[in-house]
Point group: C2
Chain length 242, copies 2
C-alpha cells in the first residue's frame, strides 16, 4: 500500500494552502499545457486518478464529460472533494493506485495529475488502466520529472558562475526517494524517463505527446519566480492512447 502522507495532519495543513489547492487549476502553471493535451470531453467517461479536492473532476464535467470517477488514497481529500461538489455525474472514492482495480472497457479517458510518482508498481497500474479504457481511449498524466526527483539532495545549487543549477545524481538507480515536503520523509518512486515511456509502450499504449513543463514569457512576467523552471524540467506531461 502506498504511503498515505495526505492524511498526515501537518502535511494536509500545508498542502491545503498551496495556491492551486486554494484557487484551483488556473493557479497551476502547467494547466494550459495539460488542457492542450486533453481530447474533447463531451460525452466522455473519465477516471481521475489521484483526484485530490476534485478541481479537475469538476472542470471536466463542466466541459461536457458524461461522468467522472475521482479516486484518491486520502480520506481528507475525498471528504473535501465531496463537500465541494454538487454534481450527480461525479463520484468520489478512496482508492490506492498500488492495488487499484477498475472495470474493463469502462472509460474513455484516464487522467492523473502528480500522483503516479507515488506509485510503486507502475507496470501493474499501466495494465489496469489499459484494460479499463476502451480502444481508442486516452491516458493523460503528469508526474514529477525524473530529473527533478533523482538526486539524493534535490534542491537548488549554484554552478561556478553563480547560475541557479539543479543537481542530478543516481539517475539510473530507480526506486524509493524520500524528501521533506510539508512533512518528513515523503515517499516517492523514481523511474527513469525511459522506463516510464517503455512501460506505457509495453502496456499497449501509443505515445502521442511528451511535454516537459516550461513557463511562457507571459507567465514569467506575471510571476517572476517561475523563471527558475526554465533551468530544469520539474514536471513531465504525457499523452498516450490505446
Amino acid at each position: 500500500m502506498a504511503q498515505n502522507i495526505y492524511d498526515n495532519p501537518d502535511f494536509f495543513a500545508g498542502y491545503s494552502q498551496l495556491p492551486r489547492q486554494v484557487r484551483g487549476l488556473d493557479d497551476a502553471p502547467e494547466w494550459p499545457e495539460i488542457r492542450a493535451m486533453l481530447p474533447d470531453l463531451v460525452g466522455k467517461r473519465v477516471v481521475d486518478l489521484g483526484c485530490g479536492f476534485g478541481w479537475a473532476s469538476r472542470w471536466m464535467r463542466k466541459q461536457g464529460a458524461a461522468s467522472v470517477l475521482g479516486l484518491d488514497l486520502s480520506r481528507n481529500m475525498i471528504e473535501r472533494a465531496k463537500a465541494d461538489t454538487a454534481d450527480a455525474g461525479i463520484s468520489y472514492c478512496i482508492a490506492d493506485l498500488d492495488s487499484l482495480e477498475l472495470p474493463a472497457g469502462s472509460f474513455d479517458l484516464a487522467y492523473s495529475a502528480l500522483a503516479f510518482h507515488y506509485v510503486q508498481d507502475f507496470s501493474r497500474l499501466t495494465q489496469v488502466i489499459r484494460k479499463a479504457l476502451i480502444s481508442g481511449g486516452h491516458l493523460i498524466f503528469t508526474i514529477e520529472h525524473p530529473i527533478f526527483m533523482a538526486a539524493a539532495n534535490p534542491h537548488w545549487i549554484s554552478d561556478e558562475e553563480g547560475r541557479k543549477t539543479w543537481p542530478v545524481n543516481q539517475y539510473s538507480l530507480e526506486g524509493e526517494r524520500r524528501t521533506d515536503w510539508f512533512a518528513k520523509g515523503v515517499l516517492k518512486y523514481h523511474r527513469t524517463l525511459g522506463t516510464t515511456l517503455n512501460t506505457l509502450i509495453d502496456g499497449g499504449f501509443q505515445i502521442l505527446r511528451i511535454k516537459e513543463f516550461a513557463p511562457t514569457s507571459k507567465q514569467i512576467q506575471q510571476m517572476p519566480e517561475l523563471a527558475e523552471e526554465l533551468e530544469r524540467p520539474m514536471m513531465l506531461l504525457v499523452s498516450a492512447s490505446t
Copy 2:
C-alpha cells in the same frame, strides 16, 4: 551548414584515439543496447547518418544488410572509412545532415550514432528520413542526452555530501551549446527530450523504445570508471518506426 569540427586537425587527431574509434563498436558501452534495438538486418537497405570511420556500416553488412550508404560531413572520416572497407555493398559519401536530400522510399533502416545533436534543424531532417524510408521502416539513433548537454558548464560537480553530481541549467532554453572537446567551441544544438520525441511523432514516426544508457554491473566490473554513468543520463537511444 553544420560546423565541420571533424576535419579540424586537432579534433581529428584526438577523436581518432577514442577506444571506440580504434577498436570499434565493442568498445562503445552502449553498443549492446543499440544492437538490442535493431531489427533483423538481412536484406535491408540501410543509411548510416554520420557514419564516421564506417564501423557500424561494415557491421550491418556482416549481419546481412543488402546495402549500406554511409554519410558523413567529414572528408577525413569518409576517406578513412573508404580505406578501411572492401565491400561493394557499402558506399560512402560526404553529406551535411542539415541540407541532406535522400531518394524517397529507398531505405528500410536509418541508423545514426551520436550525430543528430550537431544538426540545427531536426524537424527538417526527420522529414527527409521519413520520406526516405519505406512504410514499416525503422529509425534508430543515439544522441547526447539533453540532460548531459543543457548546462552552461557541463562537467561533474559535488553535492554537499561529496557525491558526484551533474549540473542542469537552461534546460528549456533550446539552441546552441559550445563545449571544448578535443577542440575549442565544438558546436552542438540542445533540444529538450520532449522536443526530440514530439518532432518524431509530428514527422509521422511511432516511438517504439527510449533508452537512457546505463552501464550494467558487469560492465562496471570490467571498467570501473563507467560507474559514474549511473549518476546521470549521458546518452539517449531512440527506436521509432514509420
